[in-house]
């Protein structure tokens, strides 16, 4: 009888472990990953400028990006950027 009570209590405790501490840890892992991915507007501006500089070495591009933003899905983070190419200089076209 005592064994049965112990068994019931241990079962109850096991289900709680899954429900509580593990849940807290897993939720925090996700939320901290997302939080740490936040990029400040200053850094975004700097990244934008640098990317345009690099592109300008190979292409003639518009002054402004049509889109430049961080997108998130369930498990990944993307940088989505769109810029209009005005001209492909001759030396960049493969023959």
């Amino acid at each position: 009888m005592r064994e049965l009570i112990k068994w019931v209590i241990s079962k109850r405790d096991q289900t709680r472990i899954v429900a509580s501490k593990i849940a807290a840890r897993e939720r925090l892992q996700m939320v901290l990953m997302r939080d740490r991915m936040e990029i400040s507007p200053d850094i975004m501006d700097a990244l934008k400028t640098d990317m345009k500089d690099v592109m300008s070495r190979y292409l003639v591009v518009e002054d402004e990006f049509q889109e430049f933003a961080i997108h998130r899905s369930e498990e990944s983070v993307f940088l989505v950027s769109n810029i209009l190419v005005k001209e492909l200089p001759r030396n960049t076209v493969t023959t």
Partner: protein, 289 residues
Amino acid sequence: MLRHMLGDLRGIAEGHYMTGRTIVITSGKGGVGKTTTTANLGTGLAMRGHRVVVIDTDIGLRNLDVVMGLENRIVYDLVDIIEGNCKMHQGMIKDKNHPDLYLIPAAQTRDKNCITEEQVKELCQKLESEFDYVLIDCPAGIEQGFRNAIAAAKEAIIVTTPEVSAIRDADRVIGLLAAADVHNPKLIINRVRPGMVKRGEMMDKDDIIDLLAIEVLGMVPADDRLITATNQGTPVINDKRAVSGAAFSRITARIDGDDVPLMDLDPKTGIMGKVKEIMGINRGAYSHA
């Protein structure tokens, strides 16, 4: 030349060549125990024979004075000192029990924007020449009050509780401190309930270290005696029988450079303890932290 040397000697005699440690106690989230921690660590360091000043930088919401039981002695405050309405020493309140412990209270009827980071830095530099430890109690949040509090600090202690919200905010604060050039903050995990940890219902030290990648300075168990001590305006570290007080003592020793191992906060496990645990009435029966 001789005059120079004499000047140097006089400086040493007056303590002007001391360089105290300025440590900010912060958390991001409110209500996790920053002020209680500041009061206890300040008292603990004074008990170890150091000259200590604790500063409440939560302008408009001052509380360190009541936690230390010094609320009736306030004449001047932090803003008065910074604005020059009084001399620095007039604005410092001597503790009831420890003659080398002083409090600089926050102003209650002003707002955070009436002082600047530069002014706090300047004040702390002066204090560092007279005190071994300058502890800064930071307001909750990450706005100007936070920036004022961390401006002068070279070290930081982050207080958290084993809860998702507090840990998330602690992570934010670690990032903000790094951006402000305050590196290697140490963590105090407050209000740990060993029974729950043992049953796997509360995150333990290792879970939190994994999440935050930060060194743990100590854990403080949830303790009724801490509440009664605070009710009376005496930091619980003065109470030899309190488990939370003992935990703060060990944390103080670690801050001061002693090598005190971290202890597990296991509930007492005698036969009665086991019985009580099974019956679910083992509340508050902890061994020391």
